[in-house]
Assembly symmetry: C2
Homo-oligomer: 340 residues x 2
DNA sequence: CAAAACCACGAAAACGGTTTCGTGTTAATA
DNA sequence: TATTAACACGAAACCGTTTTCGTGGTTTTG
């Protein structure tokens, strides 16, 4: 016994007026007489009429949907970004369609093609590692060529002309390294991933610059480059056993937490003997023991800004192809893994 | 210089055939001659024709979108569920629209009303705490009365007739408590939230039952009920200073991590002096120090199953109103915060 | 009192597809 | 050769809106 959704046609038939009259009456058009409008509006309210979004989308060529394509959602940073996007989108009456590329190029392409066929008004995305590795961005270019606005965040590329929003990863690594140097650390290790991830590269650069600026010689022996995001426990243990270091900068939380555990197992005290700073101020940093001094990425704000930039483009009439790249400043959150 | 999306109409005009012929040709209809089909298909391929999703949705009254409404996304459990949903939905050609209720009744209502007007084929949701507190489920009933399939997960209610999927929280608390008892613990504390959250209540029940089954008297002095999800540090410290306990069961990770820190500050050793078990096996449990023995909720599987149940209902023709409640079994993941 | 202006509403096209039904042409049958 | 069947395609309705344009009836104006 379903309460079928009521349409303009139903109302029109019931009230013996035309569909156009109903449509206009519900929009409070001046064309329609007071009496008729009241009658129609009352009827619509009584039967809880709500216009069909799909029909409106078809007519307006506007879906009020934003497509968000990210590599992973079980990842604190991306999650906070999604929250930021959703938050802003919601206030503007937009819904968020989330697609996961799972770090795979193919999935990224499929998801985008799917959504690009009318399902969304614009994209917000962060590149999969696979995509960055292949260096193939044709799927992004196709989308922008069709006039669909695109905002890239965090993992971006120069190969595509669109709005971008990143945090200054180089600066983040720089201030983190500087902090360690100011503590008096001389042998600062870096734990990172291989360079094809744009962010890892930038962070490494910041680390190197800080060392150079402070006349500390770079020692490749105390830079650990992990082949992928997966944890390689042996590599870790081995590194921390033989490395002669008094501070560690890690490009993510998990590396930092894991590193801290290794050095504690080796009998070192944090932060007395060795300091740690990790990227991405997430749950782990906050609740680690000792709590981890971290570089905050401000994911939520990033999401909000991305949504704002996108919706602005979506709703603006002018087709001018001017794109901006916003750079957010990271913040050092001092906790117990460094000396205050 | 935009490459406008090509439509059937464009193809029809260009090839001087009717729109219907183009439509049929692209579906490889027997009605159309081999020659014409080849010509049309070649042309469509060349210009990369893809049908407009919105138009198809309007015609079919099927959007191939699933609406997911959850209280929060920056929460490991919900995140894993979303991943599970997305994973299954993706294989079935569905997209996932994520809406956050932010634990607010009003937002939950608004989001559902928004999506219910044709944007989605069905809902997967977990109730906001506000909704559970008010005990008002009319927005859910309206949706189901309109014939929109609904699957409730984790935070569910008996007040609504629909498919549900939960984990056996009572059992989870029971096996956790039992594990602690088997370790020889006698004074097992419980750290929980107030009972209006269905899951907290079930977990408390399991805890109580395990104590009863093992003839341990319930001591209300060692049960800490926090008013909300927000951390109340003082309450924590106070509790752990005065409580005479040798084990702790916490209804979430954060409570457990924080509790562990408190008792360590008090000079106790984990797990020698006191054991900890926490609910929701997330990142924190894995990377805590010591790592936290936890009750795994299997969020991803839950999401997959929810999506499966929903899509089944969406695609099934029969209108039979038979609903099922699936109950997943939680698992104890033993780590270093308990004695093996 | 005829012409112009206004009012209140309906018809129809449009958005981009799918699908049913009809129809003109050719080929097979009686 | 007349009849019928098969073939290949087009017209039109439909999904639920919005919006432009037209029109019959009433009111104002000259």
């Amino acid at each position: 016994m379903l309460k079928q959704k009521i349409t303009l046609k139903h109302i029109a038939k019931e009230l013996e007026v035309s569909i156009s009259t109903v449509s206009k009456a519900l929009k409070n058009s001046e064309e329609i007489s007071r009496d008729t409008k009241e009658k129609i509006q009352a009827f619509a309210k009584l039967y809880n009429y709500k216009p069909n979004n799909i029909a409106i989308s078809l007519k307006n060529k506007r879906t009020k949907n934003i497509g968000v394509v990210i590599p992973d959602i079980v990842h604190h940073f991306f999650t906070t970004v999604v929250r930021g996007i959703e938050k802003h989108a919601n206030t503007k009456g937009y819904n968020v369609i989330v697609c996961l590329s799972d770090e795979s190029f193919d999935k990224e392409v499929i998801n985008m093609e799917m959504l690009a066929n009318g399902s969304i008004d614009g994209f917000i995305m962060s590149l999969s590692s696979d995509t960055q590795l292949r260096n193939d961005y044709n799927h992004l270019k196709e989308v922008t060529e069709q006039g669909i606005p695109l905002v890239l965040f965090d993992r971006v590329t120069n190969a595509v002309n669109c709005d971008k929003i990143i945090i200054d990863d180089k600066m983040g690594a720089y201030i983190a390294t500087k902090k360690l140097i100011e503590e008096g650390r001389k042998k600062i290790a870096l734990v990172t991933t291989e360079d094809y991830l744009s962010v890892s590269k930038a962070r490494t650069d910041g680390y190197l610059k800080a060392l150079n600026d402070n006349n500390i010689k770079v020692d490749n022996e105390i830079i650990l480059r992990l082949p992928s995001m997966g944890m390689q426990e042996e590599l870790f243990k081995e590194f921390f056993e033989k490395a002669d270091i008094d501070a560690v900068l890690c490009v993510n939380e998990i590396f930092a937490i894991y590193g801290m555990r290794c050095v504690k197992d080796n009998g070192l005290k944090i932060p007395e003997d060795i300091s740690f700073i990790g990227f991405t101020d997430g749950l782990l940093s906050k609740y680690a023991n000792p709590s981890l001094t971290a570089i905050a990425q401000h994911g939520e704000k990033m999401g909000e800004l991305a949504a704002e930039m996108l919706i602005e483009k979506v709703e603006s009439e002018d087709e001018s192809e001017t794109f901006q790249t916003k750079i957010l400043e990271p913040t050092l959150i001092e906790r117990d893994s460094t000396i205050n």
